[in-house]
Amino acid sequence: MTRNKVLITGTGAVCAAGMHPREILDVVLAGRTAIAPIRQWDTSNWPTRVAGEIADLNPRALVPDRKLHKLIRRTDLVGLYAASQAIEHSGFVAWRDTLDPADFAQYNDRTGAMVGSGGGNFQSQYDFFPLMSAANGDMQTFGRDLADSVNPMWLLRTLPNNVLGHIGIQYNLKGTNACITNHSVGGMLAAIEAMEALRAGEADRIVAVGHDAPVEPQMLLCYHRVGLIASEALRPFDAARDGSLLGEGAGALMLETATSAAQRGAPIIGEVLGGGYVGEGLGPLSIREDGDGLARAIAMALEDAGLHPADVGMIVAHGNGTRRSDASEAAALRTVFGAGMPPVTGFKWAFGHLIAAAGIMDLVLALAALKANVVPGIATLRRLDEACADLRVSAQASVPRGNIALVLCRGFAGTNAAVLVRAAEP
């Protein structure tokens, strides 16, 4: 069965470490972490006080259209920003403008958007607090005074699929689409679904984006209470690792068929070679110690791409810094790669776990690292855990053994995803 090649013609990213993929990679390469004390609320009495917040987040710098700001949340601001960046980077808009009206419409019908979204949040619901205080438990008052107290656009602001809807309106994208709410793997699944749709000819180009802003009080507290938050630093695969840290941000890829990219002579950043995802079926928070789900996802991605483990030049691990996830991830990598393991790195230590944006951010940065021919080090790594002993991770940067990266992503509900990308030859 013939299938279209899936090329990458644009990337976009924003997180605590920067407003652009290369800027973020430079922070990582410098061994700096963008994890800092939380500023959105006073955490001086909190058991956990740091995160990867985007400092001085300026809504207008992220989304120039001020009318939109009342209709979207913080997570949507970063998502729309990264998606716009990838779209502008690809240059298809300027080319589309040269088309006559019929071709223009056809072009839009063949241009899609796939989004991985963090879903709902707790903070939005506090918008009802003033009304609840006034009603004082009386639901009749709550209902009667509703319209005087709560923003009429409240429901629209909380939609999990706002980035999809608004990026579509902004760029007149009218093709195939999805909004995936699958915890941390959402963004990466958006890239996989986009790849599949392009291969099958369901669209000619698709922007894939993942976005999240989990740094809000109740969300952070929940993660802390289930034992997933680190005390001060995120140290993937380290013997002393004690959890993850939350970050906010978004990553985006402009994906196109080879025909679509060639049509306007678009510069090629890389290619999506294959992907796979599976569940472990153990419940919301459980992880198998043997890394079975992740090993199967990697095997699926390799088979999908027609590649062997030896073809992989570097691995970008999920490396979220929790005891169980990192140990089982190491087990999965041992199962698949054995003695032939390429250099392994991870990026979350530098800007936090971006949850729904995590996997697609790692894809964007993997492409930037391959282009720079570098496997960035994990600067917070002090002593490798014996359980992860055969991983080729280091605090220092090294050189990839080829221009193909395997990027891994794991989430609640036991979902594991793997994607293989190749960077274009410089």
Partner: protein, 439 residues
């Protein structure tokens, strides 16, 4: 370009809806238009502009009885677990240890918001001033309870379903508002086509009949305020329509690779034959009056299924009973079907069971499979006053009994996502060659 594409069979159905907690009860209600609309009982809605809804009634999980797991499940997850049990029982097949990795799960998940009771506790403890006191949050009950975190999590429904049934292949959850259920079915179909898995448990679930959920809809003036006539409140395509009737529930289907379903002698309701998706990119809440957006999703679904409009006998419309949706959808159906619009039968079952939001597309997918299998088309209830802008061949008063060769289900969501699913009668599959093969 396409060669040997795998065909997808629908072999099991399950429903929990406002008009019945199983498939047969729901179907009987849809045929005669026995409405699920009634005054809201789940909370005191007396002060709200809309005080009616289509609630799931007298629901007790009967097939699903794992008490420990139920503690992790919110109302919509319970509907989902029950409907999924029904569907797997109906299909007569369940994942086993040996084939668990060849089963997938794709669901349309409802809005992810805390239960009102939990929000009220948090408000009382740390929001009484009207603002959140973040230090008090540290000692808040719901905010500290891992069970609450799990129940409110976007992937909780998926986590419970895959655990309950031991599904270890591709598992995903989508949310495009009211298009979620339809998109989940399309996603599930493609997982089988691509060979990623052989069988998928696919569906959708939602419940927004809570103070916060209904408040959100009231603020947007999207819901009908016919509080004195709840059973007539949903009247899609009628000239006097004035908003949708909020509903809740779940619908699930078992999808199988066609040859495997045949080989085990499964009863095949229909082929899930085509999927189309588009974005309206017009307004967040509407498609344009000319049907642009839905037109593309319907055309795509037909092309994907290699079906012409002239073969379609039944359309289960999105038909929400809002002024704009029904206008836009009518225009789209006219544009896609041309002269055939006078022949193809159309009904919106939301007229009877209300709008199940993220579950709507999945439940209406079950309805289309039943329409094909039983040769019956449910009615568009409450249709009295024709709207000249919504001229369609609506099924009114009586269900239509005739062979349904092809059925189509539309689902359009806030955010502009349009989903269209096309199903084909099993008899119509026999004699067809492989997809993409020369005739």
């Amino acid at each position: 370009m396409r060669t040997e594409r795998r065909r997808v069979a629908i072999t099991g159905l399950g429903m929990v809806t406002p008009v019945g907690n199983d498939v047969n009860t729901t179907w009987d209600a849809l045929l005669c238009g026995r409405s699920g609309g009634a005054p809201i009982t789940l909370f005191d809605a007396s002060g709200f502009s809309t005080r009616i809804a289509a609630e799931v009634k007298e629901f007790r999980p009967t097939l699903f009885d794992d008490r420990k797991m139920l503690k992790f499940a919110n109302r919509s997850h319970r509907f989902a677990l029950e409907a999924a049990e029904q569907a797997l029982g109906d299909a007569g097949i369940r994942p086993t240890v040996d084939d668990a990795t060849r089963w997938g799960c794709a669901v349309g998940t409802g809005m992810m918001t805390a239960d009102y009771e939990e929000l009220a506790l948090t408000h009382a403890h740390c929001g009484a001033s009207g603002e959140i006191d973040t230090d008090k949050l540290l000692t808040d009950g719901p905010a500290s309870d891992p069970l609450v975190f799990c129940r409110n999590h976007a992937t909780e429904g998926l986590a419970l379903l895959t655990r309950r049934f031991g599904i270890r292949g591709c598992a995903t959850s989508v949310h495009t508002a009211c298009a979620s259920g339809g998109q989940a079915l399309g996603t599930a179909m493609k997982l089988i086509r691509r060979g990623r898995v052989d069988r998928v448990l696919a569906g959708g679930f939602d419940s927004m009949i809570s103070p916060v959920g209904i408040a959100g809809f009231c603020l947007l003036s999207a819901v009908s305020t016919d509080n004195d006539t709840p059973q007539r409140a949903s009247r899609p395509f009628d000239a006097t329509r004035n908003g949708f009737l909020p509903g809740e529930g779940a619908g699930f289907l078992v999808l199988e690779e066609w040859e495997m379903a045949r080989a085990r002698g499964a009863r095949i309701y229909a082929e899930l034959a085509g999927d189309g998706n588009s974005l309206s990119s017009y307004r967040i809440t509407d498609s344009p009056p000319n049907g642009d957006g839905p037109i593309q999703s319907m055309r795509q679904a037909l092309a994907d299924a290699e079906i012409s409009a002239s073969q379609v006998d039944y359309i289960n419309a999105h038909g929400t009973s809002t002024a704009m949706n029904d206008l836009s959808e009518s225009a789209a159906i006219r544009a896609v079907f041309g002269e055939d619009v006078v022949r193809v039968s159309v009904s919106s079952t939301k007229s009877t069971m209300g709008h199940l939001i993220a579950a709507a597309g999945a439940v209406e997918g079950v309805v289309c499979a039943l329409a094909i299998a039983r040769g019956e088309m449910p009615i568009n209830a409450n249709y009295r006053e024709p709207d000249p802008d919504c001229k369609l061949n609506l099924v009114v008063n009586e269900p239509r009994r005739q062979k349904v060769r092809v059925a189509m289900s539309n689902s359009f969501g806030f955010g502009g996502s349009n989903s269209c699913i096309v199903m084909r009668h099993p008899d119509e599959v026999d004699g067809l060659g492989a997809y993409g093969a020369p005739p």
